[in-house]
């Protein structure tokens, strides 16, 4: 692969995400609800036993929620939304618990709360995570759900549930496909070859 010439580094402090970029992310997500309860941990989202053996995106996606809901991985469709209770993603810091859903095409997870590391991994790996307890209370599996990112509101069963706005940064990261890609874009390095990452261990 030929390396394109890298454009100069720092592009300034203030980088805002334009409305058209938000549109790239899909300003409106329309899907079906997969509803789960409180305290769903990373082991049931992506079992630890596969952490070192399963590496391909399709394979990772095939194990999503395996120990929580065996039919999920085959029946979930791109654009579907997971709606869950408190402390979604507690436990291990393994990033596959995020990427398994992303590779499956899950558009967002709406929860009452997220475990701290899961939340950061989610945004940094480019998965939309929204905290909205009221919408979680109202949602049932199979419901049609609409997430309107321009107005920060979830539409469900004929009602609207507002959620706190995501910062341009969080949206920008998700839109770019993750933190490293986002930073590269922000610094004008997008399109150049990514140098292989050493073991971040």
């Amino acid at each position: 692969m030929t390396r394109r010439k890298q454009r100069g580094g720092w592009q300034g402090d203030k980088v805002s995400v334009s409305q058209s970029e938000i549109k790239n992310l899909q300003s409106k997500i329309v899907g079906r609800v997969w509803k789960y309860g409180d305290g769903v941990n990373t082991d049931v989202i992506f079992p630890g036993k596969y952490t070192y053996s399963v590496k391909e995106p399709d394979e990772i996606a095939a194990h999503a929620l395996e120990d929580l809901d065996p039919k999920f991985a085959t029946a979930a469709r791109p654009g579907d939304v997971i709606v869950a209770g408190r402390n979604w993603g507690n436990g291990s810091s393994r990033e596959q618990a995020v990427t398994a859903l992303k590779y499956k095409g899950i558009a967002a997870v709406v929860a009452k709360s997220f475990a701290r590391i899961y939340f950061r991994n989610g945004i940094n790996q480019g998965l939309l995570l929204i905290t909205c307890p009221e919408a979680v209370e109202a949602a049932r599996s199979g419901d049609a759900i609409e997430i309107d990112l321009n107005n920060n509101v979830i539409r469900l069963t004929g009602r609207e549930y507002p959620f706190p706005p995501l910062s341009p940064t969080a949206l920008g990261i998700i839109n770019a496909g993750g933190l490293v890609a986002h930073i590269r874009k922000k610094l004008g390095l997008a399109g150049t070859e990514v140098i292989a990452t050493g073991s971040g261990d």
Partner: protein, 438 residues
Amino acid sequence: MGSTFAEKALARAAGLSSVVAGQVVDAKPDVALSHDNTAPIARIFRAIGLEKVAIPDRMCVTLDHAVPPPTPKHAQNHVEVRAFVKEQGIQNFFEVGRGICHQVLSEEALVLPGQLILGADSHTTHYGWLGAFGAGVGRTEMAAIWATGELWLRIPESMKVVVTGRLGRGVTAKDLCLHLIGLLGADGGLYQSIEFHGPAIATLPLHERMVIPNMMAEFGAKNAYLPPDEAVFNYLAERRERRAPLAVSDWQSAVSSQRAVIQEMALYPDHDARYASTHIFNADNIELKIACPHTVDNVRPLREVAGTSIQQAFLGTCTNGRLEDLAAAAEIVQGKRVAAGTRLLVIPASAEVYLDALKAGYVQTLLEAGAVFGTPGCGPCMGVHMGVPGSGEACISTANRNFKGRMGQPDAEIYLASPAVVAASAVKGVIADPREIE
């Protein structure tokens, strides 16, 4: 509606007039901390495609986790860190033996009240003792901070912990933390900013205050906060003046100028701030506590586990390796010997602590009792070297974590306690109450 400490501190760091819990902001940390992990972070940084970090002046790098290096691989890692630090022109770099990151940055007054410090270390919560917002981040995130000078943060909800009364004889901040974690669980403060208030907190000496936010990492917290007061301002003012003197001839007026600037930066929550929950404890009722294997929330009163046989007692770490901790231990072992079949390992949290303990005679007292001293740093806290327990052994430690295998040997038991309990246990060879030693 008023603001919590977290809302005020992160609004300031994000350059906004106000923020609310749940909101995500781009915050510019005043300090970005990394340690022996600086080399792997540097590799991620290079993968972003940059040559120079954006914020060399805000970076602090310590070598503390494996010092002096136990293997050629560890030594090579340090070589890489030094090369990176030199190449990037990072002034705040602390060599092997200077001490554990959180102790060193405190001693050097590199973090001030109301500031934001992000560290590639989970115990970066530590800086809450001086009224700063400290949070741990991942390695990729630290590389991103180096590249851009900022990081996205979600404003945490806050928990208010009010501690009334006063801790009883021999009861320490460590016991208070274990009490709280035991009661509400290792995820009791998940994602939250934990604010400590009340007379029992305000009357704590500084070395005890330092324990509390450090331990809150084991409570699931994002950060923790103690309201800074005169004692904190004085500590920082003197140290700041020593490190970077103002152009004022007389010491007293220089220190008071420093203090005025520091005090001005302090942030306090509003009286009508909104808390997710409030917990009120009476310090008078808190007993000596032990965290039993293999989780920090497996907490029991000391009296229930007293008599459990131990082979190693470890006094040190960023939680409890300070001068006053060594003093408490020296007082217990004075004129006695470490029990046969038991070893007492002492690792001062910093070179400064070591030297002060030497001058005060604590080092001699501890050595005469049979203690073994290690180089200031993390030592065996996370199982790399310098005193890891063997299979089937039990270690009582002043550290903050007792996960299975934390000290290197999954088949070893780790008990967590205060420095005096650790010293008393070393003398008895079993877990013991320091108040019952002569």
